[in-house]
Amino acid sequence: MSHTHVELRRGAYADSVTLLQVSRTVAAGAGVEAAQVAMATDLNLDVLAGMGFAPPPDVTANDMVVALRLDDEAALAPALVAVDAALAASSRVAAGTVELAPPRTTGSALSRDANGGDVLALVSVPGPSAFVEAMDALDAGHDVMVFSDNVPLDQEVALKRTATERGLLVMGPDCGTAVVGGLGLGFANAVVPGPVGIVAASGTGCQQLMALLDHADLGVGSALGVGGRDLSADVGGLSTRESLRRLDDDPAIELIVVVSKPPAAEVAATIREYAATLGTPVEFALLGAGQPDLTAAAETVLARLGREVPDWPVWGEATARADGGGLLRGLFVGGTLCDEAMLVATQVIGPIRSNIPFSPELALGPDLDADAHLMIDFGDDTLTSGRAHPMIDPTLRLEHLAEVAADPRTGVLLLDVVLGHGAEDDPAASLAPAIARAACPVVVALVGTTSDPQGLSRQAEALSAAGAEVHLSNAAACCRALELIGGAR
């Protein structure tokens, strides 16, 4: 006879990633059928309801819910002990005396250690609160990286105008990755220092470029993320301009690459004009219809610096369905990787349905399904609101993957796997069983460097052993997927 326990902890708080880990730890305990420890956001309440738990009344998003389904009542006490132990283990106590509580705001943290040095703030709090934390950094005279998404556009503009007035740099909002003087921030690949400087309005686009250059033994000095909206007319490329200035000042940088979706025309013109005034040459890799893909951009960079272009590696080989047809199903965690794949595929098989469509009529409904070729970006704002990014929490994509892999319409599955600091410890471990079960061929774009903590070759081998064909180049992976459903380039 199973036993259900739902408990409200008012005023308790931990971030969604921590709670995900706590939930998993508790769920793995003896006698526990299901465990969900989460802040009572609307989304999490839906999740709880979906798991069959009745959420307690009068909850707010500032309350924590502990929901457990147990084999029997006897399992409750040890499960609650496990909850408390997991929560306690996740909260770190700052060094020093007991009375010195950790700072509660970015401003407080910056003012406590006024020893100077080159201090940078990293903000990854929920979007509606990111602006005030980032302003703390600017007010204290420090650069800031804003990983948070769901930050309103007017706040981004206000933040960047303030930074511009003060000669400071705002990376983001929605800046997934950056490398500053060799230090990886957010989802960052471990790169060898080198002569390339990157300014990226797209996180995974930047990571793809770094992965390819790493394979070609070309290092990256710094990669500054600016957020996907920086080159829009509203924002006007303020952070791109400041990033270009910083990289131009760096004597170690020989070539700057700007990675972005196509910018607003007037912004592109001013940025190109500004780039022309710099001492360091600037290469623009602008992903769009009729433009070179990221792999081609990497090859251009190599050529401009007089390096040889290597063969891009492939692990394993997928086999087409017996009828050689079916629909293309792309499930991505990287927005730019999804965009790039859609660009490549559109040229071959026509329009692609998506949750980040090229035109409104191609949009998918909330069920993310259509009787057509489609690609889904699980890292999109609307799918990450109230939950962790799919590079940290693979649950949502794994659920869809199971459905799509079992769907007889599916002709080929195209996936991306992104390695680096901050990303899942072992993404292949959760993907491999799902890949092995798939009735259709699976092609994976594996974006990572040889120094990444997950181990590039280990991941590639695990994925290919499960039956996937693995490419370092996302564009090559996409071409291969098209080939497997009979599309030819």
Binding site: V17, N62, T105, A109, L122, V123, P128, S129, V132, V180
Partner: protein
């Protein structure tokens, strides 16, 4: 570009872990969601271009004031208070909603002024309202502890900012126990008040006028290093004031029995200096008023029913909510059921960074207010999370002479959910009882989002014009 020497990380712990794995130190912010519903207003206020310079100006103005005790004189003279006019603590309130101790204080005041023969008869007078007016002390450059009742014949400390000539006032402290400010109105209470007007006030006036201004800000600097937090402990400050004034009191020409009685009264009342500390704080905070865009709190005050705050950037508007009952120790047989909700203008000390904010410097009284020494250190440090800066004059030895946390920022209170910590006395809730205990109290949380909403509305109005 050089590698950052340190990262301050607010948000997901795994990014901080990833940075530490690359051998760069990380300061982790213990971030929590802000008070419910405040995100948009917090962002609006943070984006207000006036905010930063306005807060810098407000803090500097407050910290720049040096308050001098320049006179002691009746309220009728220095405040122009007329018969039938009553000042009281906290935000505006009428008789009908006044709490027991405030009513008791008003009844004592009516009897003191001869409006009624017996304090009990004043109830009908206040109910009718004939020839009576009630006004907050704060509206008349004044602060009053507990009930804060000021009537024309009461003698006042007069503090002056020599740079501007601005003044702030406070009545003379009556001591503890059965006293008007705690709502008592028995004959001994009225006798003491009459003696204070007849003897104590004139003696002090002569002494201050002869010996010259007393540097009240300077005494506060010293007493904070001597174990006083200047709200619930004023022992060192009282003795220093006595040291400064006693020669002139002795020389005042008043009968020696009167001088001796005055010296004995001051020396026997450890809280005597509170009524100098309060207007000193008021004078400093008033210098920070009326600065557009500033989110700094310039007054926290309670009338026994409501707790109110005013901020620099919102003019004279009060933001109010229900006053809370303090948590602490009780005198004799009294218990929580006997205590009135929080009352008095004395939270002006916390507003200025002392009192509960300087608890770390007063370990001697942490038990009186129900705490422990580590609690006291933690409290002062916690208050730095909600304040704009530190006071370079007022420092705390045990915290390596760190300045007291100064300039409460409405935004920081809403962001952190940390409420200002106030040390306070507790009045009995029934008129006439007097003091029942002392303890710790916080403002009602909702008044900070209220103030923030008004600051945000003003910022939005400015940005669209």
């Amino acid at each position: 570009m050089t590698t950052p020497t340190r990262i301050v990380s607010a948000g997901a712990g795994l990014f901080a872990d990833a940075i530490e794995a690359q051998a760069v130190p990380v300061s982790r912010v213990d971030w929590r969601p802000p008070m419910p519903g405040t995100e948009a207003d917090l962002a609006t206020v943070a984006a207000d271009p006036l905010r930063r310079p306005a807060n810098e100006q407000a803090l500097a103005a407050m910290l720049g004031v040096q308050a001098l005790l320049v006179d002691v004189a009746p309220a009728s003279e220095v405040l122009g208070l007329h018969r039938g006019e009553f000042l009281h603590a906290g935000p505006p309130i009428g008789w009908e909603t006044a709490s027991g101790p405030l009513r008791g204080g008003l009844m004592a005041g009516a009897a003191l002024e001869g409006l009624v023969d017996d304090p009990e008869m004043a109830v009908a007078l206040f109910e009718s309202g004939d020839g009576i007016s009630l006004e907050p002390c704060h509206h008349r450059d004044t602060v009053g502890p507990m009930a804060g009742v000021v009537t024309p014949s009461m003698w006042m400390f007069v503090l002056e900012d020599p740079a501007t000539g601005r003044r702030a006032h406070c009545s003379l402290n009556e001591g503890l126990g059965k006293v008007l400010r705690y709502g008592a109105y028995s004959p001994e209470v009225l006798d003491r008040l009459r003696w204070m007007s007849a003897v104590l006030g004139p003696v002090l006036q002569k002494a201050v006028r002869t010996s010259g201004p007393v540097d009240a800000t300077g005494i506060l600097t010293q007493m904070l290093q001597m174990g006083d937090e200047a709200h619930n402990r004023n022992r060192a400050g009282t003795l220093m004031l006595l040291r400064d004034l006693s020669p002139a009191m002795v020389d005042s020409g008043f009968p020696s029995a009167d001088v001796a009685a005055a010296l004995r009264f001051i020396g026997g009342n450890d809280h005597f200096f509170l009524n100098v500390a309060m207007p000193t704080c008021k004078l400093a905070l008033d210098a920070a008023r009326g600065i557009d865009g500033s989110t700094m709190v310039v007054a926290m005050a309670r009338n026994g029913t409501e707790f109110g705050i005013q901020t620099s950037g919102t003019g004279d508007q009060w933001f109010t909510g229900p006053a809370q009952v303090a948590d602490g120790l009780f005198l004799g047989d009294y218990g929580p059921d006997d205590a009135n909700p929080d009352i008095g203008d004395s939270a002006i000390t916390e507003t200025a960074g002392i009192g509960g904010f300087a608890m770390a410097t007063a370990p001697a009284i942490v038990r009186l207010v129900g705490g422990s020494v580590p609690d006291a250190l933690a409290t002062t440090r916690r208050m730095h999370e909600i304040t704009l800066g530190e006071n370079p004059r007022w420092s705390i030895p045990v915290l390596e002479f760190q300045g007291v946390p100064s300039g409460i920022d409405v935004s920081l209170v809403c962001r952190t959910g940390i409420l200002p910590q106030i040390n306070t006395g507790m009045a009995g809730k029934v008129a006439g009882v007097g003091q029942v205990g002392a303890g710790l109290v916080t403002p009602p949380a909702e008044i900070f989002p209220q103030a923030l909403a008004q600051l945000a509305a003003r910022a939005r109005a400015r940005s669209t014009t």
